[in-house]
Symmetry: C2
Subunit: 133 residues, 2 copies
Amino acid sequence: MQRMTRQRAAVGELLADTDDFRSAQQLHEMLREAGHSVGLATVYRTMQTLAENGDVDVLRNAEGESLYRRCRKQVHHHHLVCRDCGRTVELDAAIVEHWAAEVGQAHGFVDVEHTAELFGTCAQCARRGSHDA
Amino acid sequence: MQRMTRQRAAVGELLADTDDFRSAQQLHEMLREAGHSVGLATVYRTMQTLAENGDVDVLRNAEGESLYRRCRKQVHHHHLVCRDCGRTVELDAAIVEHWAAEVGQAHGFVDVEHTAELFGTCAQCARRGSHDA
DNA sequence: ATGTGCATGGGAACCATTCTCACTTGCGGT
DNA sequence: ACCGCAAGTGAGAATGGTTCCCATGCACAT
């Protein structure tokens, strides 16, 4: 049974406030700054649970760190993430789904899953970055 | 300047012998078993160098561990990997490249990179697995 | 109000990877 | 062949994200 605790409420509140992907440690720090006292282990546990329930999206950055973000779509989808500011666009990608299914079948693989993420620099960050160039 | 050492020769030899993705630790173990004495740190360093030169493909499994494999294609490509035996198929995927480029442009992102990997169970492993079902 | 058992926290444990640094060795120059 | 030295190596320490442990806390049905 899932209990509603002070800590989980704080995490939920925080997630509702940001659109960007954040690491567990960042979230922990943000909670501290917001005056909530939540253990790091609890943040990890909570994010894990939320991820299992499909309430947050998880992806790994280039360093292998897990990043979390509340998700709107419950169905499978992909992301376009700004590598500077974390701004994220959720993507439907029927093309990718079809590609994965076809390729898997063509090679006799079953239970084919796929990962696909796009990383780039958003227009705003690109503009800002060009100032000092 | 790149020097040819006993250790690098051993790693190169080993990579030439297998088609499957292996972790640095697995490679290290395999070298030991083959009678070569190569430090773990050296394996990591070597794989890093090879990866930078585009001589091996690198991908991360679900646990975030880095897996390596010699690659035939020097150009960007994707993989279909058997999650049981590691058997790997290299994929051209113009579809995915186009998708990534279009989506990036549509949202004003620049320098868009992408990752896309397929994981499944190959025909052989699926057959073997169904025996005890 | 109370009991039960899920939840919490903080510090230790884990584990892949990287760093350190003294020692070895490939290799170009002589 | 021999030297010199910078590149390479290895064993262990350090790092850093994540999970585990377990005594204590607390949500919630009764």
